[in-house]
């Protein structure tokens, strides 16, 4: 804007000299070098790349997880039963839990 530049300022010659001297003194100052501002990359390509990498790693490691092995039977149920020819037979049953076992005489308890 030319009107700005042409505004009349009464620059006092004494003050002009004073500030010129100040400028001269400032020539002795050490001006720090222009700081190299680290450029921040504005691209966000690494976000989808990161997600893809995570998915790949997940897919790679998940199948390697050991499937849960069947636990060894902890309970042995041994019952003595009478066979068709009135001989005694042992029946051995393996299980992890007791609740599947039913006492052969349980009915007596309930009926009683």
């Amino acid at each position: 804007m030319p009107s700005v530049r042409h505004m009349n300022i009464n620059k006092d010659p004494e003050l002009k000299t004073f500030f010129q001297e100040l400028r001269k003194q400032d020539e002795q100052l050490i001006i720090p070098p222009f700081p190299e501002v680290e450029k921040k990359s504005r691209s966000i390509w690494w976000i989808p790349a990161g997600i893809a990498a995570t998915l790949l790693l997940g897919a790679f490691f998940l199948p390697l997880e050991k499937s849960a092995e069947p636990t060894a039977p902890e309970v042995l149920i041994i019952t003595l039963e009478e066979g068709p020819n009135q001989e005694l037979q042992f029946h051995i049953q393996e299980t992890n839990e007791m609740d599947i076992w039913e006492s052969p005489t349980a009915s007596l308890l309930t009926e009683y």
Partner: protein, 161 residues
């Protein structure tokens, strides 16, 4: 201006920007280094944006000035500057007073207006833009500062005779 243009602009005005930052920091060069670094980050990261590209220098000076004020306040030095001014205004300058110490005796606004006009060759309108003040107010600071500084320069001269 895109980032590269801003970078070129800042490099071109670096020396003047640093000197202005130093003046805004009460002639403290170390503080000015921190201020100028912050200013460049603000500008290049788009935190400080130019509204119009007509007066890039006044915009840069304004960003520097406000950043310097923030930094002085943050470091608890802002009040020191104001108290110093009040004390200096009343007392006569001494023979040992340097150019800088004479300027520092003036109230902050007067210092800044005189430095912008006489040291950085800016107009009063440009100074008003930097200070974000009405031109009439800036002219008042300019006239008062000029009168007082001239008086002190005269007084200092009498010691030399």
């Amino acid at each position: 201006m895109n980032r590269n243009q801003l970078d070129t602009f800042l490099r071109k005005h670096h020396q003047e920007a640093f000197l202005w930052a130093r003046q805004c920091c009460g002639f403290d060069g170390e503080l000015a280094k921190d201020v100028i670094q912050q200013v460049y980050l603000k500008v290049l990261e788009g935190k400080a944006r130019m509204k119009t590209e007509a007066h890039p220098k006044t915009w840069l000076f304004s960003v520097i000035r406000f950043t310097a004020i923030d930094e002085l306040r943050r470091k608890g030095k802002w009040q020191e500057v104001e108290i110093e001014e009040d004390m200096a205004w009343e007392t006569e300058p001494e023979e040992s007073d340097s150019h800088e110490s004479l300027i520092r005796r003036l109230p902050k606004m007067q210092q800044e207006v005189l430095l912008m006009v006489f040291y950085h060759d800016m107009t009063l309108e440009e100074a008003a833009q930097v200070l974000q003040l009405h031109i009439g107010t800036v002219r008042t600071h300019y006239d008062r500062g000029k009168k007082k500084l001239k008086e002190w320069i005269e007084t200092r001269k009498t010691f030399e005779v």
